[in-house]
């Protein structure tokens, strides 16, 4: 990262201080060790006097130490004091020397440090600095003392003093350059030494740029077009005319160009150089201007986005004063931008939320933002509006938080939707509870049915039997037959109750889906059937490896029913054959089937097969309640499958079924069909 301009100028200032001190030390060494070249450089130049060197040393030191505007540490304050002492010393020496000149009295300070023999080159009074040098040092001392005085902008006393010093230096150098004695030496007095003039000029520049952000000098450190021009053009403008003139003279003197051409040469050179400078500067300005315009366009673009947004976007200072207000804010809050900007944000805040904004601004000042905070705001017309706020810090180029930006979204709609959802949820919960209660009642009902309905049946059966047994002698055949019918009816009713209960349990129970080995279940059922009636020889053909996803208990019931039916309806077959198998692929159009070669049924009545209590045979032919297949159908439907049958009278029957349940991820395609 480039060092910012003010820092570079300040560094320059320090360097000049250092140069001043170095030069001073060299000259003092020259005086101490009596080395002529260090005192005068050229033999016919006037020497730099010891006091001059001393003043340069002090001034250079002061300039070096005066870098901090307001010292923050004890060391800083000490440095500043020392610098002020040095500057004061310079001032004193200069003042006293000037007094000497004005009064004509010798105050004995010229030869304090070192002796100079009388009659040295151009020196009127031995050891005494030139009056213009003293004059310059006086102002240099003042400048150093006044460095931080005066307003930040506008006239800086230190800079004015600095200019005076510079002028002495420039005149001196010009004088020597053009050989005009009057510029560097007053009357018969000692003239200013060339190196003195140079160092004075340097120190003057150092003083002028010691505080590059104050006063008129500030333009040199500015980033603007003005600053660029000042920096690029100042030095050429000062140096160019003289340099070109000297060059022209040298060329003329050296015979390279003719006498009268010198002036023309001078003019042409200036035109060329200045022209080049102007063109390059103009090009640079053009480029920066272009950049600026692009930046402005970008800003305008972003501003348009903000204006076009439906959300309220506004910015405020860290104290809460509104600084910008977009169209969305106008719409949301009812205040126009003119009404809102400059007013405190508390305008929008309902009385019960004042703490909130203070807290938010605190957070933002720390550099944190808040996101999607739900709160309420006040419209111009007094209405409350629920909003979702996002507040972010706006940082300046130096990274500190300057302001806060707020985006507020009207969430009335969302709140309403949320309320609706809560409402619906509440309704849903209530319904679920009601459902739960209904299920519980059903549960209780079934329980009561299973217990209380059976007891009287037992009495019916038992006492009928008791009559038969105890009164066998007195009862005739008809009476006996009646009682048997009563018994049979009671038992039948018991069966029906059992089957109905099973059917209701199927509907109520939770489906517990596992991978079920259907072949194994079928074999178990077959074994049970064989056990109940060992006398029958039935051929069971059960395919291996049949499995499906489903509730094992319920699937067992299905197989019990289907195989039980097959068993029942083949009871009159000589060679009964019952088959359980599957066709097709899993998940495709595959299905399971139970096939028997028993009594079969008329396909015309196939529609009635699965209805509860529907039977296609009378009880004298085959016993049964007519609920079995209804139960099977209900179970199959709960598994998302289908069940259907084919048969012919006397030619056996086949019951087909599919299961829709899948095991993957525990999902089922359980569908309740009416």
């Amino acid at each position: 990262m480039k060092t910012p301009l003010p820092a570079r100028f300040k560094a320059f200032s320090r360097v000049t201080g250092a140069i001043g001190m170095t030069a001073a030390l060299l000259v003092l060494a020259g005086w101490l060790l009596d080395i002529a070249v260090l005192k005068s450089i050229l033999p016919d130049w006037v020497s730099m006097k010891p006091n001059t060197a001393l003043c340069f040393l002090l001034a250079g030191l002061a300039l070096w130490l005066l870098q901090e505007e307001t010292p923050a540490t004890r060391a800083g304050t000490a440095r500043r004091r020392l610098a002020q002492v040095c500057a004061l010393a310079v001032l004193l020496i200069a003042a006293l020397t000037l007094a000497e000149y004005l009064s004509g009295r010798d105050l004995h300070l010229d030869q304090l440090l070192f002796q100079e023999p009388p009659g040295t080159v151009e020196t009127a009074v031995p050891g005494r600095m030139a009056p213009n040098t003293a004059f310059a040092f006086f102002f240099l001392g003042c400048a150093l003392l006044l460095l931080d005085r005066g307003p930040r902008r506008g006239f800086q006393p230190a800079q004015l003093c600095g200019l005076m010093v510079a002028m002495v230096g420039i005149l001196g150098l010009l004088g020597y350059g053009y050989g005009i004695k009057r510029l560097y030496g007053l009357a018969a007095y000692t003239p200013i030494a060339p190196p003195t003039a140079l160092v004075l000029l340097l120190l003057a520049a150092g003083v002028l740029f010691a505080r590059p952000d104050r006063g008129p000098v500030e333009v040199f450190t500015s980033e603007s077009a003005g600053g660029v021009m000042a920096r690029r053009l100042a030095l050429p403008v000062l140096v160019l005319p003289v340099a070109v003139d000297l060059l022209a003279r040298a060329a003329e003197g050296g015979g390279i160009i003719g006498e009268s051409v010198g002036g023309l040469f001078h003019a042409v050179l200036i035109m060329v150089v200045l022209g080049a400078l102007v063109l390059t500067t103009a090009a640079w300005l053009e480029r920066t201007d272009l950049q600026r315009r692009q930046a402005e366009e970008k800003t305008a673009h972003l501003a348009a986005i903000v204006e076009g947004s439906d959300d309220a976007i506004l910015s405020k200072t860290l104290e809460g004063v509104i600084t910008s207000w977009n169209a969305g804010a106008e719409k949301q809050y009812g205040y126009t931008a003119a009404e809102a900007v400059g007013r405190p944000i508390s305008l929008l805040i309902p009385p019960d939320r004042t703490q909130e904004m203070a807290l938010i601004l605190e957070k933002v000042a720390r550099g944190e933002g808040v996101e999607h905070v739900e709160t309420t705001r006040l419209r111009k017309n007094g209405e409350l509006v629920p909003v979702s706020l996002t507040v972010s810090p706006i940082r300046g180029p130096d990274g500190t938080v300057r302001e806060a930006s707020t985006i507020a979204r009207d969430i009335t709609e969302r709140k309403r939707a949320e309320m609706e959802i809560l409402d619906l949820n509440a309704q849903l919960s209530q319904r679920a509870l009601a459902l739960e209660a209904a299920n519980k009642e059903l549960e209780a009902f079934s329980y009561s049915v299973s217990h209380d309905l059976r007891a009287p049946l037992r009495s019916l059966d038992g006492f009928s039997l008791a009559l038969l047994e105890d009164y066998a002698g007195t009862l005739d055949a008809a009476a006996g037959s009646h009682l048997q019918r009563i018994r049979a009816a009671a038992q039948r009713m018991g069966l029906i109750i059992d089957d109905l209960l099973k059917l209701s349990r199927v509907t109520r129970a939770d489906l517990r889906v596992e991978q079920v080995d259907l072949s194994a279940l079928a074999r178990a059922t077959a074994d049970d059937l064989r056990q109940r009636d060992p006398g029958r020889g039935v051929e069971f053909v059960i395919a291996d490896g049949l499995s499906a996803a489903g509730d094992p208990r319920l699937l067992r019931m299905v197989l019990d029913n289907l195989l039980g039916n097959a068993w029942k309806f083949t009871s009159r077959c000589k060679h009964a054959r019952i088959e359980f198998g599957a066709r097709g692929e899993d998940g495709g159009s595959g299905f399971f089937f139970v096939k028997d070669n028993g009594a079969g049924f008329d396909m015309a009545h196939a529609g009635k097969l699965f209805g509860a209590f529907q039977r296609l045979h009378g009880p004298e032919e085959y016993e049964g309640t007519g609920i079995g297949l209804a139960t099977v159908q209900r179970i199959i439907h709960r598994h998302g499958g289908r069940v259907w049958a084919e048969g012919e009278v006397g030619g056996g029957a086949t019951l087909f079924f599919t299961l829709g349940t899948r095991l993957d991820n525990g999902e089922t395609t359980d569908k309740e069909r009416p």
Binding site: S446, Y447, S450, H451, D452, R454, A455, P456, L457, R458, S459, D461, G462, F463, S464, L465, A466, R487, A490, Q491, M493, G494, D498, L501
Partner: protein, 149 residues
């Protein structure tokens, strides 16, 4: 030595079932005295020697308790729980004899510590058969718990 004949405590509220059960026992030559309790309170009174049966010694355990579940006042499961929670009566063999086929009753019955759970069939022949089997098992084959004292 007096051989006290062990009692069958039949806890059953349905009068028809009472008669039928006793009939079944008799027809199968099970001649132990049968004590009838028509609700849970009577059953507990008998077992703990309180109320109507005050003075009876609770440690004179019945040979078996045939316990129906659905009883007025105090139901069968609570009677079972009381039997099992008292030191004196804990060893009593309890056979739950009920029409209920509800799984929850089965679970609770065993959880509370019944010895056996038998479902009362509707068909009296089967019922009689069940009673015979029970009687033969609990009164003849099974060794009853020792009486206290």
């Amino acid at each position: 030595m007096i051989v006290r004949e062990r009692v069958i405590l039949l806890v059953e509220d349905n009068p028809d079932d009472q008669v039928l059960t006793q009939r079944a026992l008799a027809r199968n030559n099970i001649l132990n005295p049968v004590v009838l309790a028509k609700d849970g309170v009577e059953a507990l009174d008998y077992l703990f020697g309180t109320g109507a049966y005050a003075g009876r010694d609770p440690s004179a355990l019945p040979a078996v308790v045939l316990l129906d579940l659905k009883l007025p006042k105090v139901d069968g499961l609570e009677v079972l729980q009381r039997i099992r929670s008292d030191e004196r009566t804990r060893p009593t063999p309890v056979v739950i004899l009920t029409s209920s086929k509800e799984e929850q009753d089965l679970v609770n019955g065993y959880k509370l510590g019944c010895n056996s759970y038998v479902h009362k069939p509707v068909d009296f022949t089967q019922f009689s058969e069940a009673v015979r089997t029970l009687g033969l098992y609990w009164l003849i084959l099974n060794e009853p718990p020792p009486m206290g004292r």
